[in-house]
């Protein structure tokens, strides 16, 4: 009888584990086993203890921790400790499909808007085209060139990251004696440390946080800047990419893929408010609150790609940049408008931001992006 009861409980727990996995907990088989073991060692009759044990076993982040009580109540019922039939529970909380509509704009609008333009960049072909394409302002680009520029940009940017990483290894010279290895080698010479072994300084890769403006005024550039972010991943220990206009959306996970076109498609689905207004200060504030402590440290380079047309308060922007600057190693502000001959950074937002920015550079064509190598 008891045997049967405990088997029933075990089955329910397994069912429960499957249930929580379906509703957003990330547990795997190992955690299910832990949950079973945990339930065996405690008094499963005490609901509170039982819940606490399962919570300890099945959660592994704060988000999961916070979600758990709700899931527990949904599955095991509000007060009785007997599970309801699990099949009826499938709808439950956490319908996270997200918005599908609203944003293929990023990918399409670009070619629509520029198709008719005929100024600086005509469709160009052949070897010399590469040189030319490098200099074309992204916003002046006819759509015929789009494909070849995309390909070229990816190739060049990739080469740039490769060069960067090579440079690091060469400068990796010996600087301290490695006592451990020296002693090991000295045994052959009767304890005389003749051949010294050196300990090189390990090249430390920087981390990179990219903060990408996708508001209306930046629309023409955004596509290339996403590519830029993508290509940089090879070079850095970690690259976290965020899109913002009035809100912040993290897209790091999408970019950590080998297949970029696929990622771009998903990206268009994820970002809401493409081509809306800009609130850099408020977006940075959101970023600081949610990700700041986790992502910013002394080895982080923070890149903002934006034209500085800000509809928010400049004071907020300044305060938030200050707090980024305190944690990060360096702030780079890339502004596509710097490519215009007579541009002066006098928009209110830009003026407020400049004191905190270490490098202020253009980002309107491929050449300018490639020139950034120096600062990274």
């Amino acid at each position: 009888m008891r045997q049967e009861q405990s088997e029933r409980l075990a089955a329910s727990i397994v069912e429960f584990c499957r249930f929580v996995r379906m509703h957003g907990l990330s547990g795997d088989l190992r955690q299910t086993l832990t949950a079973l073991e945990a339930a065996k060692t405690i008094d499963a009759g005490n609901r509170q203890t039982f819940a606490a044990a399962l919570q300890a076993a099945l959660c592994s982040t704060k988000d999961e921790w916070d979600l758990f009580p709700q899931l527990f109540a949904a599955f095991w019922g509000e007060s009785q400790s007997r599970p309801r039939s699990a099949s009826g529970e499938r709808k439950g909380p956490g319908n996270t499909q997200g918005r599908e509509a609203g944003s293929s704009a990023f990918l399409n609008q670009h070619s629509n808007e520029t198709a008719s333009q005929d100024g600086e960049g005509k469709a160009v072909y052949g070897a010399s085209a590469q040189q030319r394409l490098k200099k074309v302002d992204f916003s002046q680009l006819p759509c015929d060139d789009l494909a070849s520029l995309e390909e070229l940009s990816l190739r060049l940017l990739r080469r740039m990251s490769l060069r960067l990483s090579r440079r690091l290894t060469i400068s990796n010279l010996a600087d301290r004696v490695d006592l451990r290895r020296s002693i090991r080698r000295s045994i052959a010479h009767g304890g005389e440390p003749i051949v010294l072994a050196y300990k090189g300084r390990k090249p430390r890769k920087n981390k990179l946080v990219i903060f990408l403006d996708i508001s209306g005024s930046m629309n023409l550039y955004s596509l290339f800047l996403v590519r830029f972010a993508y290509a940089l991943q090879a070079r850095f220990k970690r690259v976290d990419t965020f899109l913002f206009s009035t809100n912040v959306v993290e897209i790091s996970d999408l970019l950590r893929t080998r297949h970029l076109p696929e990622a771009l498609r998903k990206l268009a689905q994820r970002a809401a408010g493409w081509s809306g207004g800009t609130k850099i200060g408020e977006s940075l504030q959101q970023f600081n609150q949610r990700y700041g402590r986790k992502l910013l440290s002394r080895d982080t380079v923070f890149i903002i790609l934006s034209d500085g047309w800000d509809t928010g308060e400049p004071e907020v922007l300044a305060a938030q940049l200050r707090s980024v600057k305190r944690r990060a190693q360096r702030i780079l502000w890339l502004n596509p408008l710097l490519g215009l001959k007579d541009y002066q950074p006098i928009t209110r937002g830009m003026a407020a931001a400049l004191p905190y920015v270490d490098v202020f550079a253009p980002a309107h064509n491929l050449e300018s992006l490639l020139a950034l190598e120096r600062f990274l």
Binding site: S60, R180, P193
Partner: protein, 284 residues
């Protein structure tokens, strides 16, 4: 739960259950939460409850094997080589000698594996500060509880340690590590719980004053500071108020003890901006 309380640590049921499970399932427990809420304390109390040794490894950026696991005593080795010079030992014998236990400096992780008579409590503090490479190494240690020293061979744990990891969530830990651990999130305590902590830790404090301080700190927590005060700050603040000889919290005392609660210039300014009087009104 009660045995925790006897040792001056106020735990709720869910923490007590988690700690009970460490002992029963022999799985590591990962405790996350904001700073100053007693994460480290859990391990200390667990150790004194089980009457066993506490071995602590404080993580920091760049922590490597030689300061976490073991290191050879080079000076001693060099001397030993010199001393052996005259003898007619073969090179192999010499090597074996200078790479014996005698020359091994045990660091926390090796200590925990080598513990002789009972399972120690191994506290790996602020694991989020160590880098990913170290985390991967730790993963290996936590699954096998053995350490390989190339010159000596593999050392297997005699008594599997109870492991407590703490993290301030300055970065996300790897999934593999999290899956291996039980998890507990410590949140800011409720008023009643915080009062019990104050009573347990500062037995001399007057009830009324304690309540005022706790209400005050809880109000400050709502202010959206960069570093909200934890329980440690509550205790500091209460202690400071008592030391100043005050019997109740007033504007002056709050001003004087501001450093206990707000730990940066910006936070201090925010606290002032919120108005001492408004905060005071919430304490009674």
């Amino acid at each position: 739960m009660r045995s925790f309380e006897r040792l001056g640590y106020i735990a709720d049921r869910s923490l007590a259950t988690a700690v009970y499970l460490i002992a029963k399932l022999r799985k590591p427990l990962l405790i996350e939460g904001h700073a100053g809420l007693g994460k480290t304390e859990v391990a200390k109390v667990l150790a004194s409850m089980l009457e066993t040794q506490l071995i602590r490894l404080q993580c920091y950026e760049g922590l490597d094997v030689s300061s976490a696991v073991y290191e050879w005593n080079y000076q001693k080795q060099l001397l030993a080589i010199k001393i052996q010079e005259g003898t007619d030992q073969t090179v192999e014998e010499k090597e074996r000698h200078i790479f014996s236990r005698e020359f091994l400096l045990e660091r926390p992780l090796l200590q925990s594996i080598l513990a002789q008579d009972a399972s120690p409590v191994l506290l790996i503090d602020e694991i989020d500060r160590a880098d990913e490479a170290f985390e991967a190494f730790l993963l290996e240690l936590l699954s096998d509880f053995q350490i390989t020293v190339p010159e000596m061979g593999t050392i297997q744990a005699r008594h599997i340690p109870y492991v407590v990891l703490t993290s301030n969530r300055t970065r996300e830990l790897s999934d593999a590590l999290k899956r291996r651990c039980l998890y507990h999130w410590i949140d800011y305590p409720s008023f009643e719980k915080e009062m019990r902590i104050v009573r347990a830790r500062l037995p001399g404090i007057e009830e009324e004053l304690g309540m005022q301080v706790v209400r005050y700190v809880q109000a400050v927590r709502q202010l959206d500071l960069a570093k909200p005060p934890g329980v440690a700050e509550t205790l500091d603040c209460a202690q400071a108020v008592v030391s100043l000889g005050s019997r109740r919290l007033d504007a002056e005392v709050i001003e004087e003890t501001m450093g206990c609660v707000a730990k940066s210039m910006e936070d201090g300014a925010k606290l002032k901006a919120a108005g001492t009087n408004k905060l005071l009104s919430q304490t009674s």
